[in-house]
């Protein structure tokens, strides 16, 4: 693993930014995550080492977005293409964060990071050069939808970082698309900071090609009365990890997460979520769906942490899983850690296959088995897909997934 060697010896490299140096320092003593820790014990070791086998590519080749624009008003940005953005309109403004603002914020975040728990972020930030970090400050309302693309070119490892500040009373729809080319590794880290009364509908769609890998981490900090809605979909990656960390700093915030992962062949896709309530009256509604077919492995681990200060928290977490093959496997671990007593917290988990009675009913109505299965899967996916902003009416993700089944 060339990258690990580089991390070990990169101390003297003068071209590195300060953040890169800090992150490298945190990784230097043990450059790999602890395979025995809860967060990494189920992760496929050879797939992770395959992720790290590519050389880091700092300059992207020209990237053509494979999807047509929905409407002219949509704002499109590609991380790594050195895009300059400064939009100041009557109702809203979107500006790039200054280098100072970026440095200060990331440095503050990194100071809390731990080698094992935040390994993906630390790796990302130690590899991400200036060009591959995009920082945005968004203010106002009636903002046109924003699409942000990250991609990895073939035979290389690309590290992209996105930092978004949502100012007070701001409302926005933002779709992030992570694309992995054949034989590539993409390390994507996203930092979201939601100020008071702001709200975002955030979509994350990660779509890979043959033998592509993804390490996707999402770090959200919510201030009072903010609302964070996340709809996510990960599929077609040989190896993918989606790590979500959400902190409701002062409580009184609302978080809704609807995520899905689809695995086939010998793929492994995992989702790890950690939701911390650091104030009273927090709200969480989370559902994670997995579908595992062929010889694949789907993993979900979600933890909800409610300390003493977070009284009157209302949190629910549901993990629903479909296991479609004898050789596939699903691991799920929804966990609650509660100290506050005046709370309503619940979680649930199910693992099953397609409902035979429903299939039988449809077949008695003249629908073929294949069609009936598709119908059932479609209703299973619909709940998540309709929650992903912007894409819902255009990409027809659902058709894409179903036709590939």
């Amino acid at each position: 693993m060339e990258i690990i060697e580089k991390i070990k010896t990169s101390k003297s490299n003068v071209n590195l930014t300060e953040i890169q140096k800090i992150c490298l320092h945190k990784l230097q003593s043990s450059p790999l995550p602890n395979p025995k820790s809860e967060l990494w014990r189920l992760s496929n070791k050879s797939k992770l080492s395959n992720f790290l086998d590519y050389t880091v590519n700092e300059k992207d080749s020209k990237f053509d977005i494979p999807y047509p624009k929905n409407s002219q008003s949509t704002i499109r940005l590609i991380i790594g293409e050195n895009c300059q953005i400064k939009l100041i309109e009557k109702n809203y403004s979107i500006q790039q964060l200054s280098e100072d603002e970026l440095q200060t914020y990331i440095k503050e975040q990194v100071s809390f990071f731990k080698q094992n728990e935040n390994w993906s972020e630390l790796l990302n930030l130690s590899l991400s050069c200036k060009n591959n970090i995009l920082g945005l400050k968004i203010n106002g309302s009636k903002i046109p939808p924003i699409e942000i693309f990250s991609h990895a070119s073939s035979n290389s490892l690309n590290a992209k970082t996105l930092v978004i500040f949502l100012e007070k009373n701001c409302e926005v729809e933002l779709l992030q698309v992570n694309l992995g080319k054949e034989n590539s590794s993409l390390s994507q880290s996203t930092f979201f900071c939601l100020k008071e009364n702001s709200s975002v509908n955030h979509g994350v769609v990660s779509y890979g090609e043959n033998r592509s890998n993804l390490l996707n981490s999402l770090n959200v900090i919510q201030q009072k009365n903010s609302a964070y809605n996340l709809g996510s979909l990960h599929f077609k990656f040989n190896y993918a990890r989606f790590e979500i960390s959400i902190k409701q700093c002062m409580g009184n915030a609302k978080t809704t997460i609807k995520g899905m992962q689809i695995t086939k062949k010998d793929e492994q896709i995992s989702t790890y979520t950690k939701i911390e309530f650091n104030g009273p009256n927090g709200f969480l509604d989370q559902i994670n769906k997995s579908l595992a077919d062929d010889k694949s492995h789907a993993i979900f681990e979600g933890s909800i942490i409610v300390p003493k200060i977070a009284q009157r928290t209302d949190a629910s977490q549901l993990s629903r899983n479909l296991l479609l093959s004898n050789l596939a496997q699903i691991d799920t671990k929804p966990q609650l850690e509660i100290i506050a007593d005046d709370v309503k917290c619940k979680h649930g988990a199910t693992i099953s296959q397609l409902n035979e009675e429903e299939l039988f009913y449809m077949r008695t109505r003249g629908i073929t088995l294949t069609e009936a299965s598709k119908l059932q899967l479609s209703s299973y996916f619909q709940e998540i897909i309709s929650f992903i902003p912007i894409s819902k009416d255009r990409w027809d993700l659902l058709d894409k997934i179903l036709n590939e089944n």
Binding site: Q311, L323, N326, D331, T332, L336, I339
Partner: protein, 480 residues
């Protein structure tokens, strides 16, 4: 708003089993090494296979590390500072209960355990274990008439060596985990039950474990074998005196159920839990596992965990036989500075196996109560089902309740359902009960008892009543 002090008063409890029996005991020196193990084996006049088993386990234990994954914090245990064998001095051979030291009988009498003749009418056979040895087993002749073997494991080693050699360590191998390895090396006594083919055990069997000495650990081992089409209900109770030091209890329980056999294993664990400052109390590290070997066999665990400073316990079922059934019903109550990390493992291996998990955790004071469970569907477990329900109740804003369910499926034709919730004693309900003239304490007790009803319904009658009383007692002074 509920009066906090009033509520605290309700959970305060006096541990009524905290007395020490003043009796002459025979103890060996502190520490753990091969010679100590040989000495224990020699004292118990054990055959060679058992000594080999112990020494092999000890070698493995030396290479193992104490597990640290549980949500428990406790001071490091010094394994060389423990006495591994302590027994009350008695005559060499006891032919009847009359020869048992009256002080011992008195102790068990005080604990409410029917050992003496006049109390034998309760129709529960008891094996009473005092520190490292079993002092008496009642109803043996009556049970023998049905072919049931119920005796201490030391006696079984002498009289039924073939059965012990065949089954010991087959469910919990010596190298299973750190505490099981320790137990395998130094286990002193415990109970052995053998139910022959086609026999339904005519009475409930029961073991009562009593730690009396403050510096000796208790390492008992229980083995229950139910042959084809047999059934048995087994009860286990435990208490210890109040010492300001921590005492180690590391037990192993192995259950084996063959075709159509059924074993019901109930525990009311009330070891001394330490005082309000967390001083003293038992460190309870227990490995309990049942193997449903036969077709349509059934193993049911029900437990009420109220004692111990530290509880580390995961009664499990290996569901190997076709259509075998595993059940786990648990109430775990922690108060003051108690910590409990308990739950179950249901490993579905055979086809059409079923398991049910119902776990109720109540945390009060500054305690920590965690449910940790594993449900696994193997590749051959077609048509298998699991249902788990874990509810937690928090009393006071200092207690914590955690849920860590591990769910793994490799079989598409199986179904797993898990649900968990956390709540607290509802003020509305309390107010309603109080407005009906029910005292505050009683109202809290009623609500806790209602919360645990699903589990209490699974306990044998006399145990259910005891458990209910125990909970009310334990909660005395802490509801908030």
């Amino acid at each position: 708003m509920v009066n906090e002090n009033l509520v605290k008063d309700v959970v305060k409890e006096t541990y009524k089993y905290g007395f020490v029996t003043d009796i002459e005991t025979e103890k060996i020196e502190k520490g753990l090494n091969e010679d100590i193990i040989k000495l224990i084996s020699q004292k118990k006049e054990e055959p060679k296979f058992l000594l080999d088993f112990r020494l092999k386990a000890f070698k493995k234990w030396q290479k193992m590390k104490e597990p640290d994954w549980a949500a428990l914090r406790y001071k490091k245990i010094d394994y060389q500072d423990i006495i591994y064998y302590s027994a009350p001095k008695q005559k060499e051979k006891i032919s009847s209960l009359d020869e048992v030291d009256p002080k011992l009988l008195e102790t068990f009498d005080k604990l409410g355990i029917p050992l003496t003749e006049q109390k034998k009418l309760t129709n529960v056979a008891v094996d009473a274990v005092f520190d490292s040895v079993s002092i008496a087993t009642t109803f043996r002749e009556e049970l023998a008439e049905h072919g049931v073997i119920f005796c201490s494991i030391s006696e079984a080693v002498k009289n039924h060596a073939d059965l012990i050699e065949k089954y010991l360590g087959t469910v919990v191998p010596a190298s299973d985990n750190y505490f099981a390895a320790l137990n395998s090396a130094v286990f002193s006594d415990g109970s052995f039950v053998y139910i022959p083919k086609g026999v339904t055990c005519p009475m409930d069997l029961s073991s009562y474990f009593r730690i009396n000495s403050g510096d000796s650990g208790q390492f008992e081992r229980t083995l229950i074998v139910a042959e084809e089409s047999s059934s048995v209900s087994y009860l286990e109770g435990c208490t210890a005196p109040m010492f300001d030091t921590n005492t180690l209890h590391a037990a192993v329980v192995e259950l084996i159920a063959l075709d159509d056999a059924s074993i019901k294993y109930s525990t009311v664990q009330n070891w001394y839990a330490g005082d309000e400052e967390g001083i003293g109390g038992i460190f309870n590290f227990v490995t309990k596992r049942g193997k449903c070997l036969g077709k349509r066999s059934k193993i049911s665990w029900s437990q009420v965990e109220t004692g111990s400073a530290i509880t580390w316990k995961y009664p499990s079922c290996l569901l190997l036989g076709e259509e075998s059934v595993g059940e786990f019903y648990s109430v775990a109550l922690t108060n003051n500075l108690q910590q409990a990390d308990t739950g179950t493992k249901m490993i579905h291996i055979g086809p059409r196996t079923k398991s049910t998990i119902v776990s109720k955790g109540i945390s009060a004071g500054n305690s920590k109560n965690s449910y940790r469970g594993l449900v696994k569907m193997g590749t051959k477990a077609t048509g298998s089902r699991n249902y788990s329900q874990c509810d937690s109740m928090l009393i006071g804003d200092q207690a914590s309740a955690n849920t860590f369910p591990y769910i793994k499926s490799q079989q598409p034709n199986s179904e797993i359902e898990h649900e968990a919730s956390t709540c607290r004693i509802s003020e509305d309900q309390l107010f309603y009960l109080q407005s009906r003239g029910i005292e505050f304490e009683e109202a809290v007790s009623m609500m806790v008892s209602g919360f645990c009803r699903d589990v209490f319904n699974q306990l044998p009658m006399e145990f259910a009543a005891e458990a209910d009383k125990l909970l009310a007692l334990k909660l005395e002074g802490s509801v908030g």
